[in-house]
Amino acid sequence: MELFLNQLLAGLATGGIYAAIALAIVMIYQAIDHLNFAQGEMAMFSTFIAWQLLQWGVPYWATFFLTIAVSFVGGIAIERIVFKPLKNAPVLSHIVVFIALFSVFNSLAGFIWDYSIKSFPSPFGGLHQVGMIAVTLLLLVGLYVFFQYTRIGLAMRAAAANPESARLVGVRVGWMVALGWGMAAAIGAVAGMMIAPVVFLEPNMMLSILLYGFAGAVVGGLTSPGGAVVGGFSVGILENLAGTYVPYVGSELKLTIALVLIVAVLVVKPSGLFGRRAVVRV
């Protein structure tokens, strides 16, 4: 029983990591209707920027907000420079560009900061994982309020759902997409700064976390930020319990088991546990 509880708590803690990144994934999915495969690398890069600021002696909270601001601007810049000219290219070409961005960020981080691990401080001390979960939930609430109760949040939702109609009511759709990138980059930065104290900072730190984040986002349903958070936590817990309790194969095939379960969820419920399929009457 004690083992079970401990594994549950550990799963919750790693789940917090996945939830944070899943939230960023869902954010950008809402804004651009794609999964951004470079999301994790962008978050990693932001975290390195934070690390560099800390090395230069900038205090933690100043670094925290400065990094968010820099990432926000960076995300917008990426959309304006890389994706705006490609807005008429086929979807698959966009995915290739995500892959290209992935390579660029990974390689650049390794080049600038090299590949050995770096410890990253936590503002919450010994209670880091509790703090991380709290930050994730806070972000979620913040996003909910933003999307539900602000004009610009409404405009973003409209731009994502029906770009042409949105333009016809005067929403600057191009900028909404850019804003979505900016926000996703900023949320990624927060996720990165929360994750790095747990897994240590290095250029490849997001590789697998991104995958689990995707899994969490998909299980929860890509259209639901709340679902993404729940999904992230479930994947974390599931993975730990499978590794501990599935006899014989559990420890060796932990990842595989988790993935099989995810695919199973999808087969039963193709739009995720909390995802919505648009209801349309013609």
């Binding site: 794609h34 999964l35 490609l86 086929p90 070409s93 290739v96 990842l255």
Partner: protein, 315 residues
Amino acid sequence: MRRTALLLAALAVALALPLFLKNFTLFQLTLVMVYAVAILGLNLLTGFNGQFSLGHSAFYAIGAYTAAILMDKFDLPYPLTLPAAGAACLVVGFLFGLPALRLEGLYLALATFALAVATPQILKFSAFEDLTGGVQGITILKPDAPFGLPLSQDQWLYYFTLAVSIVMFWAASNLVSSRTGRALMAIRDNPLAARSMGVDTALYKSLAFGVSALYTGVAGALGAIVIQFVAPDSFTFFLAVSFFVGLVVGGVGWIPGALFGGLFILFVPNWAEHISKGLAWAVYGIILILLIYIMPSGAAGFVRAVTAKLQRRAS
């Protein structure tokens, strides 16, 4: 007529290359053909049937291991391992295609991506270690040219792979222009209409998965013979991502595009490394972005635009 002439010229060049090129370059070109066949498999699925996959490294791995195990444990001659690998992948692909029926677009991409990620772990699994060699993998012997032909191993493998590739490409273009091919494309373009025309979409979609896996599996077997070695680390999801990049760069839904894709994923990383060692993958990423910028629909779109321009000028 012009097309046939072009194909014959290309074939003549391909046959003559070993007379002029070093063994190492031939080896690289052999790998290009191997990757081209793998990408062709992916193209049949994505380009002609509209199903995504970021998991084709799994089928490539199954093909490679099938070949390696048959050669290593059962002393099967290497040419016979290709049909075996193809058959194994046809079955696995078809079975994977069944649950995949329920998934669309991104969800399918993710499910297949999960398959790619899990592959190395499954290959390492200790229960299969006697067969797969576990983490150590399997080393196999490189075949000599048969019948005492005066060819080096690399030259022979080049011709062997060339022959297999020609058969695979020929079969693919026939498949695409057949009734089955039209059904596959109808499903891609308008699944509802296809169903109302009486196409059994479930069957065809699973079949497309199977055939696609078959191609990639044959490529995997060829790859194992050429590299002489299989190990879990050879089949990570990076390979699946490379295939995908090759598909898009070559052109989705255009059969010769696979060859462009193969050339791209083999040579461009090397060029990138040549330009800057420390930033090789950053350079690669930038090349990729520029390429998509110039040819948003890959080589296919580019070639089409150029031929259209030429024809317009001619007329």
